[in-house]
């Protein structure tokens, strides 16, 4: 796949320097891209596109700054540029997402806390189920949660990558987790992993 890119003098960029910086970031970038794009093939395309864009823009990278954050920012921009026309798929409302939702549900259905209640609820959750749960979140929460979970970046690094204040990352992440727990419970109910809540 060929990426769009600005007309810049990328040919003069030191390729070996670029590759040295990119190489250690690629595994993490691939994991992140797979979760963003939805499958391995699309994730690979995304990483390759982002790498090409980054190579062409490498003259703009400031040596000594955070290459990982810089590269993941390019990757995310590329992802959203190709998905502009996609309709929003979020279905979970923040108003319906109390704190500690799974904990409250575990209490409600009487799971013993001395065993492993999380395993009961999420034991069958595979990467696809968690991805499906993330898709139900509004985009800004989905991207923040995915970035934080997959890369284990600090709030400050996530803020640098997404170019938003640290406080924004904090609030988005906290809300994303609330929404994600509701979303995971809904899917677990739909799949029969946990008893469905009785309708009132």
């Amino acid at each position: 796949m060929m990426a769009d890119g600005p007309n810049v003098p990328w040919a003069v960029v030191d390729r070996s320097d670029f590759e040295d910086q990119l190489r250690p970031v690629l595994p993490l970038a691939f994991r992140f891209a797979v979760r963003l794009a939805g499958d391995r093939e699309a994730g690979m395309d995304l990483v390759q596109d982002a790498s090409l864009l980054a190579f062409r823009s490498f003259h703009q990278f400031v040596p000594g700054t955070n290459f990982k954050a810089w590269f993941l920012r390019i990757l995310m921009h590329r992802f959203y540029r190709t998905r502009q026309s996609e309709e929003r798929r979020s279905t979970v409302a923040l108003a319906d997402a109390p704190e500690s939702y799974l904990y409250l549900q575990a209490k409600r259905i009487g799971l013993p806390m001395k065993s492993d209640p999380v395993e009961v609820i999420l034991g069958k959750a595979d990467a696809q189920m968690v991805s499906d749960a993330l898709v139900r979140l509004p985009a800004e929460y989905r991207e923040t949660a995915t970035l934080h979970f997959v890369t284990e970046m600090s709030y400050a690094e996530c803020a640098e990558t997404l170019e938003v204040p640290v406080g924004t990352i904090r609030s988005r992440l906290h809300r994303a987790r609330r929404l994600l727990q509701v979303s995971l419970w809904e899917i677990a109910e739909e799949r029969g992993y946990v008893p469905a809540q009785e309708s009132v």
Binding site: L102, V118, M129, E152, S154
Partner: protein, 76 residues
Amino acid sequence: MNLNCEETYKRMQDYLDRELSPREMALVKDHLDSCGICSEEFEFELRVLRKIGRTLSDTEIPSDLVERVFASLGSS
């Protein structure tokens, strides 16, 4: 200074992410060491976060990832 349950709960997410100051981390830990109700909920939340993180990161890396990406640069 000691934190009560409500003050501790407000710091839960930042505590689990180790994003509090060292002093606040210690204050929360002190409370958790003495409060079974809060420590049970914190432990539950921590397990949920770990499970989600492990699951999302469980992506096999192609053995030729670096080669494929670098080759795509070369053909540009």
